[in-house]
């Protein structure tokens, strides 16, 4: 009974592949989830027939329930590759999984035609097929999710490196324009690159500009003070600039003590005082 029931879906896939594929394509094209223009019809047709071929090959091994088994490896690989491409094209998870789920309707229609007089077997067949397709659909979601996470992780790392430039403003004057939220790992990177630059340029003044820092809480303030303390230990004075009115209010409300640090409202003011400390001044050209 079980063997026979397995063979019905496999038989449909073998014998009626063309009609099944046509029905499926029609269903895909009619669904809202199919984006005209993003995927070419020929490409979609290729993907459909490839998927059906892999499905048939895998089913011939007789395993209808466990898609993690080795005989399903090719099918999983195909779905993973397709999902990856679609994720890059900007498809939503729903739009991506519809590819698999939309096969149900044509497949069940065929089953119904094959087994018109045996409701019990029909129910069993439908149940098997639906479990299988659900698993494959969920697999695409899983791959989709994993892709997204990889992208997010990579972007986080890019941000970490991109957003911490140390700029040389003048001989022995460095500027550190901070952009974005400061957390522990970012501060660590910022601190290390700043101290390394101080060592290389033998700078005497560093201006830390926090115009681009959206909020300052106690943790951020503590990170800032740590950076200032470390720079001071290396013999460099720090000036904190770019403090917006709201941030000044927050700092005072939080009770953060910045009295040890020179603070200026704008980067220009900080640069002026840094020049003065070096015994320099800017004059108009005649």
């Amino acid at each position: 009974m079980v063997l026979k029931s397995k063979s019905v879906v496999a038989k449909i896939l073998e014998q009626d592949e063309t009609t099944l594929q046509t029905d499926w394509l029609k269903a895909l094209e009619n669904s809202d989830m199919y984006r005209k223009g993003v995927i070419r019809p020929a490409e979609l047709r290729d993907q459909c027939s490839e998927f059906l071929r892999l499905l048939r090959n895998a089913m011939q091994q007789g395993n209808l329930t466990e898609i993690q088994a080795p005989e399903w490896a090719n099918t999983r690989q195909f779905l993973a590759d397709m999902t990856r491409v679609r994720a890059q094209q900007g498809f939503s998870p729903q739009e991506t999984t519809t590819f698999v789920f939309s096969l149900k309707k044509p497949l069940f229609d065929r089953l119904w035609q094959e087994l018109p007089k045996d409701p019990q077997q029909l129910a069993e067949e439908v149940w098997n097929a639906t479990t299988l397709l659900d698993q494959l659909g969920l697999w695409t979601i899983e791959v989709f999710q994993k892709n997204r996470e990889e992208i997010i992780l990579r972007q986080q790392q890019d941000l970490l490196e991109l957003s911490t430039p140390v700029v040389k403003l003048w001989d022995s004057i460095l500027a550190l324009p901070m952009i974005g939220t400061l957390d522990s790992s970012r501060t660590q990177v910022v601190m290390e690159s700043l101290l390394q630059q101080i060592l290389e340029t033998e700078s005497q003044v560093v201006i830390i500009d926090i115009t681009g820092v959206p909020t300052v809480d106690t943790l951020v303030a503590q990170h800032l003070l740590k950076t200032v303390a470390a720079a001071r230990l290396m013999g460099t004075d720090c000036i904190i600039s770019g403090i917006r009115p709201q941030i000044a209010q927050t700092i005072v409300h939080l009770g953060v003590d910045l009295s040890e640090v020179t603070t200026k409202a704008s980067l220009a003011d900080a640069f002026a005082i840094a020049l003065k400390r070096q015994g320099l001044k800017i004059v108009a050209a005649s």
Binding site: Q196, I198, E202, Q204, M234, T262
Partner: protein, 130 residues
């Protein structure tokens, strides 16, 4: 027992730490330096730690102590050439060495010792304004 040499340059004392500090060496330096300051009536002490790669909380504390002791003996102290890793470690250990003056290299450290207004950036600002 090995000791860290203390060199005299005019009215200043120069200490260059070229080896990794261990606890007994640090304590010996503390002894030697205070004795030398009293004996030579030095006005300033410059401690160069640019070759120092590793510090622990004990060495950090001794460094701070040495600077404070020198100041009590009326000699200005400047610590110069601290490595980034050492600076981060000291800050993470909570040893910010407040009150100890620092400079990026020996040259600027000597300039700081020689300048009469070199106590703090703020005082230098007021000096520059007058």
């Amino acid at each position: 027992m090995e000791r860290i040499p203390i060199l005299q340059m005019g009215q200043f004392l120069l200490v260059t730490i070229q080896v990794d500090m261990h606890d007994r060496l640090a304590l010996a330096l503390q002894d030697d330096l205070t004795n030398r300051i009293v004996k030579t009536q030095a006005q300033g002490v410059l401690i160069d730690i640019s070759a120092l790669e590793i510090v622990d909380s004990f060495i950090g504390r001794i460094l701070g102590n040495i600077a404070t002791m020198s100041r009590i003996l009326d000699a200005d102290t400047v610590v110069v050439g601290m490595q980034p890793a050492v600076a981060i470690t000291l800050v993470e250990l909570g040893l910010s060495l407040t009150g100890v003056r620092t400079a990026i290299n020996v040259e600027q450290g000597m300039a700081l010792l020689r300048s009469p207004f070199g106590a703090s950036p703020e005082e230098r600002d007021t000096h520059a304004q007058t």
